[in-house]
């Protein structure tokens, strides 16, 4: 009689926990962001640990409690690793976008400088000595751009992409 009551209680608890797992799986598929999915997966782990603990008393097998403890540790480790991985992915993507923006900005400035140099040479003809040396310094920096300004910039952009 008492054993029957215990078994009914444990089976009812296991059925409820199974339904909760199904609901959480639906949430982990639907969740809009990555954090929602991680939260849902973490809750699935918690519910499964409870399920294993109840099962260990239902079957009267004491080794399932050890499985439960190890499952808790692996579930915690998985959540920590997932958070670290997605933080790293986000930071890497952000850095890549920042680098692309810097490269484009640099190319645009080089084109502007090349255009200014050509305009200065045709406009003033022969400048002073200091101006000549400064222009030479700028020329050395953008030497490869000056030979083919448009095609060089386009080629470098293509390489970056």
């Amino acid at each position: 009689m008492l054993g029957q009551a215990y078994k009914m209680l444990l089976v009812g608890a296991m059925i409820v926990l199974g339904i909760l797992i199904v609901i959480n799986i639906i949430r982990s598929v639907l969740g809009p962001g990555i954090s929602d999915r991680i939260i849902a997966v973490n809750m699935i782990g918690t519910v499964i640990i409870m399920l294993i603990a109840i099962l260990s008393l239902y079957l009267d097998e004491s080794y399932l409690v050890d499985v439960c403890l190890i499952y808790a540790m692996i579930s915690f480790l998985s959540v920590v690793v997932l958070c670290k991985v997605y933080t790293g992915v986000y930071l890497q993507r952000k850095n890549m976008q920042a680098d692309l923006g810097a490269v484009e900005d640099n190319l645009r400035r080089q084109e502007e400088r090349a255009a200014e140099d050509t305009a200065g040479e045709t406009g003033s003809g022969a400048g002073t000595e200091a101006g000549e040396s400064m222009a030479a310094g700028a020329e050395r920096q953008t030497a490869d751009e000056k030979t083919a300004p448009g095609s060089g910039a386009a080629r470098r952009q293509k390489e970056v992409r």
Binding site: T46, I49, L69, V79, V80
Partner: protein, 126 residues
């Protein structure tokens, strides 16, 4: 025999309370719209639900080695759940660009008064 039935009733009450908290946590995870609110509900399930269900199983088992292991599982959860929650909240705070938008709850007169002004915020509410 009477004491056995009293113990059964205690186990049943503890398991039902734990089930209640767990169902409430899952309902909260489904109901809330933002990840930080969902984390709040999930943390309740991780602490109170685990505590009551494992306490019920410990009462059912009595003073044995299994009870000690179940108690260790509770201790591990209470130590690990805040850490994982902190990691998830840091991920959310880092990756979500529009975290500062506050959902507004309107009831009664305020809803009638501000119905035309704040229509774009209605889907942000909880």
């Amino acid at each position: 025999m009477v004491w056995e039935w009293i113990r059964f009733i205690a186990v049943a009450v503890l398991l039902l309370v734990g089930m209640f908290f767990e169902v409430l946590a899952v309902f909260g995870v489904q109901k809330f719209k933002k990840a930080l609110n969902r984390m709040h509900a999930a943390a309740m399930g991780d602490t109170l639900g685990v505590l009551f269900i494992f306490l019920g199983l410990m009462v059912m088992r009595g003073f044995t080695m299994d009870s000690l292991k179940l108690f260790l599982v509770i201790c591990f959860f209470w130590a690990a759940s805040p850490v994982s929650g902190h990691m998830i909240s840091r991920l959310e705070a880092m990756t979500n660009p529009n975290l500062g938008e506050i959902g507004v709850i309107r009831t009664g007169k305020d809803a009638e008064n501000e119905e035309d002004s704040g229509k774009e915020n209605e889907d942000e509410g909880i």
